[in-house]
Symmetry: C2
Subunit: 216 residues, 2 copies
DNA sequence: CAGGACCAGTTGTCTGACAACATATCCCAT
DNA sequence: ATGGGATATGTTGTCAGACAACTGGTCCTG
């Protein structure tokens, strides 16, 4: 978190492994395994004698779910949120389009079930939110593209994190269930254009709500 | 690689750490740090007594550059290549659009320089390929969206891997430099629609060439 | 037959030591 | 005085052995 929030700048050298172990009261093994995780995500780079250096942001795996979570643990910058919505606007409508083309009967059934739960429980409840997530997961699965699933899964992590901010600021959010219903029927009807349009509307509304709650 | 190529199926249990250490003739520390890397990328999950289990493909971080590289180390499945082009077709044209909007004079200069090197050296040389990569990197940077940079960077890893296949099959590939020039001038002119169109053409050509070299 | 206590095996952590490597320094020859 | 090579030193990389923590299965008991 200190790295992603910019407390260590790219190019900076982290404290040595012995020092990290001592200050955190753990053994060097634990420190090393932790550093390996960060290195696997592209955050750092270690070389003998030179120490462990923060890599350039361009080398970071920003779409890694953990990195996204760490980014949103602290209040993320406005431009980052903006970038996230830009990316959603690029990816998700096309995904909805594909889902409308390739969805199976079984997937329609599962999405319909999730939608019912959302309508019954509401999006304020934990069950409703789980159903929402389920709805989107099945939609992605229907695209029949593993890469899209993985990408949108990561994005989903970040979106859920922003949702926490929206809830924290306790504004009255508009109900997104009708828009979900539109999206669902477009996919059921096998109408890619309508699915794309519905998805765009959904993201725009989320974008507006998020902006309201971030700029009070 | 054994995991991503499906030699270990999701749900399967890996050999224990002691056994892995012995069979590979390394210490357990090395095995553990390696497993931590895989866990960081979502491939595996370890629990005391239960062992280390392969996670579902849906949990894998498929866009991680390493995972992409491992996937393409072996001959990837046709559907995976198809999915990759589908994703490129969704992301890159929009990225070109943004780049045409937000590019700075300096970025135009750097892209122009890279293009010159490509024209001079040709795409068969290492210098030409480096310039090609540089061209695309600057383009991404011009979108002013870190998430897009990261995403397309990962995709670039995979694309370069497929390029190796194309070269290996030694078909006569069409020259993509004129298309790059079209894309460059659209971005220079600040014409988003033209940039998007040029990018679509570029990807289509790459797609066709790749299909030819994969299905002989 | 159900529920709880126990056992055993695997990962998780700790410790101490040495090897490999790269940087920085120093010295020597030019 | 200066460039280049040998050397010193500090950091990461690897090894070995031991014990702790956790958990899944087994066994026993009510």
């Amino acid at each position: 978190m200190a790295i992603v929030t910019g407390q260590y700048l790219p190019g900076a050298i982290l404290p040595g492994e012995f020092e990290l172990a001592e200050t955190r009261s753990v053994s060097r093994s634990v420190v090393r395994e932790a550093l390996r995780i960060l290195a696997a995500k592209g955050l750092i780079e270690s070389r003998p004698k030179a120490g462990t250096r923060i890599r350039n942001r361009g080398d970071w795996n920003l779409l890694d779910p953990d990195i996204l979570a760490w980014t949103f643990e602290a209040e993320p910058s406005a431009t980052f949120v903006e970038n996230l919505f830009q990316l959603r606007m690029i990816v998700e409508p096309s995904a909805a389009e594909l889902a409308a083309k390739f969805r199976t009967a079984r997937q329609i059934g599962r999405m319909g079930h999730a939608l019912e739960v959302m309508e019954e429980m509401g999006l304020a409840t934990a069950e409703g939110q789980a159903a929402d997530q389920q709805f989107h997961n099945v939609l992605l699965e229907a695209t029949a593209n593993d890469l899209l699933v993985s990408l949108s899964g990561s994005i989903g992590t970040a979106v859920r994190a922003t949702a926490l901010f929206k809830a924290r600021k306790a504004k009255q959010l508009r109900d997104s269930i009708p828009l979900h219903r539109d999206l669902f029927s477009a996919i059921t009807n096998g109408d890619p254009a309508a699915a794309k349009a519905a998805c765009v509307t959904l993201i725009l509304q989320a974008h507006e709500d998020t902006e309201l709650s971030l700029k009070p």
